[in-house]
Symmetry: C2
Subunit: 166 residues, 2 copies
């Protein structure tokens, strides 16, 4: 089997053998993970936009194109395009030049992101990660939490808070 086969023959058999079982498990795990990507879900980016829009509305009562663009570090045309997409998908009602209103569907997604972000930062701070880095990592991780993981992490953080020293 090609040139690599010779590597097996002449290679380090001990190392190969000792990690055989574990490597196999890992590959299965990875395949499982990559195959089970839930279909027809919101993209990470949609979630990011919804999260920012939600926070802006909470803070000022409305969310403008420029404000959104600043908080996501993207151009305003990118924001407009995403707003059209989120309107199309029913996450918000968008009237051009006029404004945005989150729908029930959009609010639910946004609140979900808010809560996950919160939880993650809280946990990361607990184990000693600095605020800024905690926020940066949370911004990425928040899109990859299975409901069960969310629940278990929530339980963990809540229990840990109970043992907070005076």
């Amino acid at each position: 089997m090609y040139l690599r086969m010779f590597k097996v023959i002449t290679g380090e058999w001990e190392r190969l053998w000792s990690t055989m079982a574990r490597a196999a498990d890992r590959l299965d795990a990875i395949r499982e993970a990559h195959s089970l990507q839930s279909q027809s879900k919101n993209t990470d980016r949609m979630e990011d936009y919804l999260e920012v829009i939600y926070e802006l509305i909470k803070k000022k009562g409305y969310a403008t194109t420029v404000d959104i663009s600043k908080h996501l570090s993207v151009s305003s045309p990118s924001v407009t395009k995403m707003l059209q997409k989120l309107d199309e998908s029913g996450h918000l009602n968008y009237e051009k030049y006029r404004g945005i209103v989150l729908t029930e569907k959009g609010s639910e997604v946004a609140e979900g992101m808010h809560d996950k972000h919160n939880l993650l930062v809280e946990f990361l701070r607990m184990i000693g990660v600095k605020e800024e880095i905690a926020n940066r990592d949370a911004e990425g991780i928040e899109h990859h939490l299975h409901p069960e993981t969310l629940k278990k992490l929530t339980d963990f953080v809540r229990t840990a808070k109970k043992v907070r020293p005076r």
Copy 2:
């Protein structure tokens, strides 16, 4: 669940509490997070391919196009294209129809992913997440860990294991 494990984190509480007020401005935190995306980095997808290639080579001594495609649930042309890209970026040496060898650079990235994945699954299992879900989430989260977070989480898991090993 690890009953005494909570003690581990209690030392961090003072610091966490003192920054709660600052944590309130969620919008600033989000802007900061999105603006600090380091340029010229490997994409998540590159990391996924490298991880799988690394595991396959560890297991069988070589990694074929078809095997990679199966473990990532993508078509073989997609794999070929990424192999060309990873060759171009110096992560591996690729000779078409012949085979792949990870370079030092590629191995480092791949081992990093392997370790992060490991760590994450270990942590998630600790707080009670089922193996399959732990693997799925780890597959997404592994790409979003700042070095400091990695270190702190490693410390946490190690300490927690000492508190109640096995």
